[in-house]
Amino acid sequence: MLTQALFRALDKKAIWVIGIFLAVAALVPMANLLIPPGQFGHVPTYLVSLMGKYLAYAILALALDLVWGYCGILSLGHGAFFALGGYAMGMYLMRQIGSRGVYGNPVLPDFMVFLNWKELPWYWLGFDNFWFAMAMVVFVPGLLAFIFGFFAFRSRVTGVYLSIITQAMTFALLLAFFRNDMGFGGNNGLTDFKDILGAPVQAPGTRAALFAATAIALALSVLVCSMIVNSKLGKVMVAVRDAESRTRFLGYRVEYVKLFAFTVSAIMAGIAGALYVPQIGIINPGEFEPGNSIEVVIWTAVGGRGTLIGPIIGAIVVNLGKSWFTTTLPEFWLFALGALFIFTTLFLPKGIVGLWTQFFGARRAKAEQPTAPTPAQSADIERGEDPDSFGDNPQPKPAE
C-alpha cells in the first residue's frame, strides 16, 4: 500500500527535484568545508547559512502551496506555524545554553532570571531533550492547525473569510508572544544560542550540517507532497478546490480533506521554522507578523501555485531579490515586492513555472512531439535549484 503510493509519488518531475536537493545537500557543505577559502568553488559559511534560510523558506512555500495551490485554502497565517516550529527549536537551544548565560543560571534562561522568575514554567519542561523538542516542532503547529481547521472547516468557513481568520490567528499569536508574561522572551524572543546536539551553532561544520538537514528536509517535503497530490486524495483535494459542494455530493467529507491538508501543511511549516532558527540565530515574535505570511503567498504565486516546483523557485527567487534589494536599495524593496505581486497576478497567473511550460509547450507543439514533458521541468529545476551560482552576490546580512 505504502510502497505503491511511494512509487506513484516518484514520477519523473519529483525524482528530478528530490535528486537535485539531495545533491545540493551533499555538494554545498563539501564546497564549504573541503575547498579552502579563496580557491575556486569555495562557498563561504555566511552563504551556506543564507542558502539554508532560503531552503527553509522553500519548505514553507511548499507547505502553503499544498493547501492553497492544491486545496484552494488561502491561508494568510502560515507564518504562525513556521514561527511555532521555530520557537520549539529555540526553546531547545535556550536550554542548551545552561550556565553559560549572562546570569549563569543553570536552568533558567537569562530573560527569566531578569524577570525574577524562580522556576521554569511547566511548558518549558522537557525542552532540554532534543527529541522531545523535535516532537513539539511537529506536534504544536500540527495541533493548532488541527483544532483551528476542525472548527473552521466544519463551520464551512471558506474563501476570503478563512483567509481573514488565519490572519487574525497569526496576529493574535504575535500579540501573545510579545508579552513578557508568556515566558517566551517577550519582544526580544529567544537568541544567543550556543549548542545544538553538543555542537557549537556558529561553527562552520554545524552550519554546513544544518544546511544539509534543510536541503534533505526539502527533498522529503517534496516527496511527501508528491505522494499526496498524486494519490486519489490529491485528486479529491483539487476537486474540493474547484467544486467544493460537488465533491460533497460524491460522498467525500470535504472538511476532513481540508483538515488533512491543513494539518500536514502546518507540520511542514513548523519543521521549516525549526530548521530556520538555528541558522538565523534568533526567533522573536516578529516572525508572527501578518506581513510575513503574506510574503509566503507572494513567493508561491510568483513561482507558480498548484505545482511542486513553483513554490520552491518562487521562495528562492523572491528572497534572492529581497537580499539584493535590502542591501542595495532597502527603501524600495516593499514597492518592488508589491509590483512583483501585481505583475504576477496580471500577467503570470501560473507563475514562473507556468511561463516556462507555456514557452516549452509552444515549442514542443511546433516540433510536434507530444511526449513526456521533460525539457520544461528540468529547465525549471535548474533555474530554481542553482543558488550556489551567485557567489559574487553583494554581502547580505545572514540574520536580518
Binding site: 503510493a5 506513484r8 486519489k232 485528486k235 483539487v238 476537486a239 474547484d242 460537488r246 467529507r253 488533512f260
Partner: protein, 249 residues
C-alpha cells in the same frame, strides 16, 4: 400516502421557506424501489429545492424525508446522504474540469471515502474494468485521458451520468439531463435511464416533453412547491390545471 415501508424515497408534508417565500409547500412524494419518476413543472416550482432537501443541502422547515423506508435524511449532511446511496446529477453539468475523464470516474467510483483510504488507494483490476465499462456506456472511452474541461456540454452531461453510475447509488436524482444534447443523444439518454431504472430508483426533472415521453414513467407536475397533478404523461398533460399553469395554450 400512508406508510413509508417499501419505499425508496418518502416525502411527507415537506415545507421550506426562504425569507417567507414558500419554495416547497406541503409536498408529498413517494418513489418505490426500481421505479422511475419524472417531475415536470414551471420554473420556480421547487424542483431543484426538492433535490436540495433530499440530498441534505437544504433542511426543511417541516415534514418527513425518509430514504429506504427508514433513514431520516433531514438529520444528515451531503456526504452522509451520498454515502447512503443517493446520487445526484446537477442541472448545470458539474464535472471536475481540471481532472481527466478517467479521474472523474475514479473519484466517483464506490469505494471507502475516508482520507487514508483515498491516500493509499490503488485501482484494482476490478475497478479498472468497472470504469472502462462505464466509459463505454457513456461513450467517452476514446476521450478518457482528456481533461473534462475539453468535453462538449452534452459530453459533460454524459460524464456526470457516468459518475452517477460509478457511485452505484440506490436512488438517482437527475436534474435536466438532456439540456444541450442533440436529439439522438437525448434518445440514448432516455434509453440509458430506463435501463438504470430496472434495478434502481430514478427521479428525473426535465422540461423536454418528448424526452419525458420516452422515459415512459409516472409523471408528477409540481407548481408553487406542491404536487399539481400525478399520473401518466398523457393524464398529466390533459389535466386542465396543468395546461393552464405550466403547458400554456
Amino acid at each position: 400516502m400512508s406508510t413509508a415501508s417499501d419505499t425508496m424515497l418518502y416525502l411527507d408534508g415537506v415545507s421550506v421557506a426562504f425569507d417567507g417565500f414558500k419554495a416547497i409547500n406541503n409536498l408529498s412524494i413517494i418513489v418505490k424501489p426500481a421505479e422511475m419518476l419524472a417531475i415536470i413543472g414551471p420554473n420556480g416550482a421547487g424542483k431543484t429545492t426538492m433535490m436540495d432537501i433530499i440530498t441534505g443541502k437544504t433542511s426543511p422547515d417541516a415534514g418527513q424525508v425518509l430514504f429506504d423506508g427508514r433513514t431520516d435524511l433531514t438529520k444528515l449532511d451531503e456526504a452522509a446522504i451520498a454515502n447512503l446511496g443517493i446520487g445526484r446529477k446537477f442541472q448545470k453539468p458539474t464535472v471536475f474540469e481540471s481532472h481527466t475523464v478517467w479521474d472523474n470516474l475514479e473519484m466517483a467510483l464506490k469505494k471507502p471515502r475516508g482520507i487514508f483510504a483515498a491516500l493509499f488507494y490503488t485501482a484494482s483490476d476490478a475497478d479498472v474494468a468497472r470504469i472502462t465499462e462505464i466509459l463505454e456506456t457513456v461513450r467517452l472511452y476514446a476521450r478518457k485521458d482528456e481533461l473534462a474541461a475539453n468535453l462538449s456540454h452534452g459530453q459533460k452531461q454524459w460524464l456526470e451520468i457516468g459518475m452517477l453510475l460509478a457511485q452505484d447509488p440506490k436512488l438517482l436524482l437527475v436534474d435536466e439531463p438532456v439540456a444541450g444534447m442533440t436529439d439522438s443523444e437525448t434518445e440514448e439518454t432516455a434509453k440509458l435511464l430506463r435501463e438504470i431504472a430496472t434495478t434502481r430508483s430514478v427521479v428525473v426533472v426535465e422540461h423536454d416533453m418528448s424526452f419525458v415521453r420516452d422515459l415512459g414513467s409516472r409523471v408528477i407536475c409540481l407548481a408553487e412547491g406542491s404536487v399539481l397533478a400525478e399520473g401518466t404523461l398523457d393524464q398529466v398533460s390533459a389535466n386542465p390545471v396543468v395546461i393552464e399553469r405550466y403547458l400554456g395554450r
